[in-house]
Symmetry: C2
Subunit: 399 residues, 2 copies
């Protein structure tokens, strides 16, 4: 029997215990042995729950137990998660975590620690929980040069935008619906302002870049300013607004952002609805690939953590999930390259050679531009502004 | 330097050589060493091509070279591929192959040989070349129970169906276009009659089942009988016809088929166009996931083979791609369970409680049924037949 400890018996932690139990047969078939959660660290007690007899309140009991091979960190937050994870690695224990804040902030350092101590540090569940995108980048795609990652990385905002489009709800109404269904938290800021997606694209970008692209350096715009008129304007232009995290690599520079983006209706990402996530890659030999699945949820996230646990225990070698160096790479704003834009304005229509298509709407118009520089865009917006009010500007996704 | 031999210098074989060269940096970063193709078996010579000095005509030169760690089999066909692969495994060499006929026929046996000799036998490229679906099933999803696999597994037929829909071309016209572009072979039978997709779904189904589901036991119907009227009828009902390979597991039985299938327009698989492939899974914890990418093409297929080569050489452990036992599992026809159907008829409309929706067309109608048994379907078709001619019947995909 292989022994595992779990730090934090919240949603994901209890999910990990459940998945390991439910998958007993599959795991035995793969490893030839059982995997059991023998200790669970939590400050709370769970009287009446069968987990209670495995609850410990002191991390040392886990750290000093030589039979525990893997520590699962699903407590969230930076501290004491960072201390517990680094101590676990130094004690020769593999670590699997779903904690994107931890991975984004300390991934480089923890990757080094893991290598030094010959153990694995894995974090598949930290980005798009139910989609094995990090493992794919680390295995099936290791021979590829990745030019571009574009992802719907936050299910809450994707649900809200889809609901606004399907029902004509306002942002506030759609948010309230998402909260009522448990898709959005009571304090929804991290989701709706794009910070959650920014952490995830920062992790993906860092993995591809090999240096640390910090989430606070990622230009980030959320969806709280999106109006019904924006959604209708996008639809009139044959597209949809999606909150995309994106990272493109060109001439050694990394163009990274999180922002509501115009996605053409015939693009696969436009078909990703509800709380689902999707990650699209462009790479040197494979070209376009896309990976789709649940972004969150107790069992989906827990399943990803369990896959990390099994990879740590399986075989003889150490499965090394690539991290990145602690050297900081400053990402570039995508608008520093020529981009295409959706512009929505209220007032009189403007004629302009930069417009690729224009659709009038009640009291105004929406238009898609050709590729233009930031300077050309500014001039265009000024010209529109003489006869109309520019209400919103969104980038069109790079294809 | 790690040494590899390639059997067959055709499209994929030359692609493998090219990908290993183009990915030198990525590979060095991962393995810390170069990987080089030192011998290439082919009956032909390639005067003037730099490969010529590595061409050998006798397999023994590869088999007896103790420095060659991995043999890449991309010659196709069953013989002598089978003999070369089994001899390589017995000689302690890892094997990576793109040969779906070989894997489908001898996968069980070759998997055992590999285990006995402590080497890896991998075949990612044999199913949906550019999509790392087998590796995902073997790693990220090892803890999952897979209930259903549904895939667009053949790019040629997907291209033909999309072209018929987009341009109103007949099947023959679309096939000619695909041949002119090199998407279809001069003898297109294996693609258009579904045999290629049947081999791929047989491999996926066997991997999930753990026993051998033979491709010749998979009920298979191709697309050569699809008419413009069928495509228009599907569109009128809010869907698209796609050639799907599918395998569902229920109560220990495996329902497997390849057939043109009605896919609702809002389903992600409906958005998979051109020569792309996609595989959708339903599993116990992750729920729905989908993987999308190129199904074929020199570099995409070669890249998948190279990923297998790197997995064989990377780390200390042997990467074991799960195969299946040689025990034969007889798949069940999906129509043995209640299914929904699209029916297209010419003549007078029939009223029937089994119809969920019905759309009239010039001289006839198309309809979607509710779930019905094979017997109920037969009775329905008989009733329609009294006043009209039943032109076609397609299953609706299971959702």
């Amino acid at each position: 029997m292989r022994k595992v400890a779990v730090l934090g018996y919240g949603t994901v932690g209890s999910g990990v215990v459940a998945v390991l139990e439910q998958s007993e047969d599959q795991i035995k078939r793969k490893l030839g042995e059982e995997v059991q959660v023998v200790k669970v660290l939590d400050i709370r007690d769970f009287p009446g729950d069968p987990i209670q007899e495995r609850i410990v309140h002191d991390f040392e009991e886990i750290l000093k137990d030589p039979e525990i091979e893997v520590v699962v960190e699903v407590m969230g937050g930076l501290h004491p998660a960072y201390e517990y994870v680094s101590q676990s690695l130094c004690a020769g224990k593999h670590v699997a975590t779903s904690n994107k804040a931890l991975v984004e902030a300390y991934g480089a350092e923890l990757g080094v620690l893991a290598r030094e101590h010959g153990v694995s540090f894995q974090f598949e569940a930290s980005v798009a929980g139910g989609i094995p995108i990090l493992r794919t980048l680390n295995t099936a795609m290791i021979q590829e040069e990745i030019y571009q990652v574009t992802g719907i990385l936050n299910g809450t905002t994707n649900y809200i935008l889809a609901l606004m489009e399907d029902t004509g709800a306002t942002f506030q109404e759609a948010l309230a619906d998402a909260q009522a269904r448990g898709y959005a938290e009571r304090d929804p800021e991290a989701d709706i302002e794009g910070y959650d997606a920014a952490r995830k694209i920062a992790i993906l970008a860092s993995m591809i870049c090999g240096k640390h692209i910090r989430y606070q350096d990622v230009p980030t715009q959320g969806i709280s300013g999106i109006t019904k008129a924006d959604i209708e304007g996008a639809a009139a232009l044959g597209g949809r607004l999606k909150l995309l995290g994106s990272c493109s690599q060109e001439n050694g520079r990394f163009y990274v952002s999180v922002e509501p983006t115009f996605v053409p209706m015939d693009h696969l990402l436009a078909a990703v609805n509800s709380v689902f996530n999707a990650v699209m890659l462009k790479s040197s030999m494979l070209g376009d690939t896309m990976f789709y699945g649940k972004g969150a949820g107790k069992l989906a996230t827990a399943s990803a953590v369990v896959a990390d646990v099994l990879a740590a225990l399986d075989g003889n070698g150490v499965y090394e999930m690539n991290t990145w160096s602690s050297e900081i790479e400053e990402p570039v704003h995508p608008a520093d390259r020529p981009c295409r834009y959706m512009v929505r304005a209220e007032g009189a229509q403007t004629e302009h050679p930069l417009f690729a298509s224009l659709v009038p709407s009640e009291g105004g118009f929406s238009a898609l531009t050709h590729q233009c520089s930031r300077k050309e865009l500014t001039a265009l917006l000024e010209q529109i502004g003489r006869q109309a009010k520019v209400c919103s500007v969104f980038r069109k996704m790079e294809e």
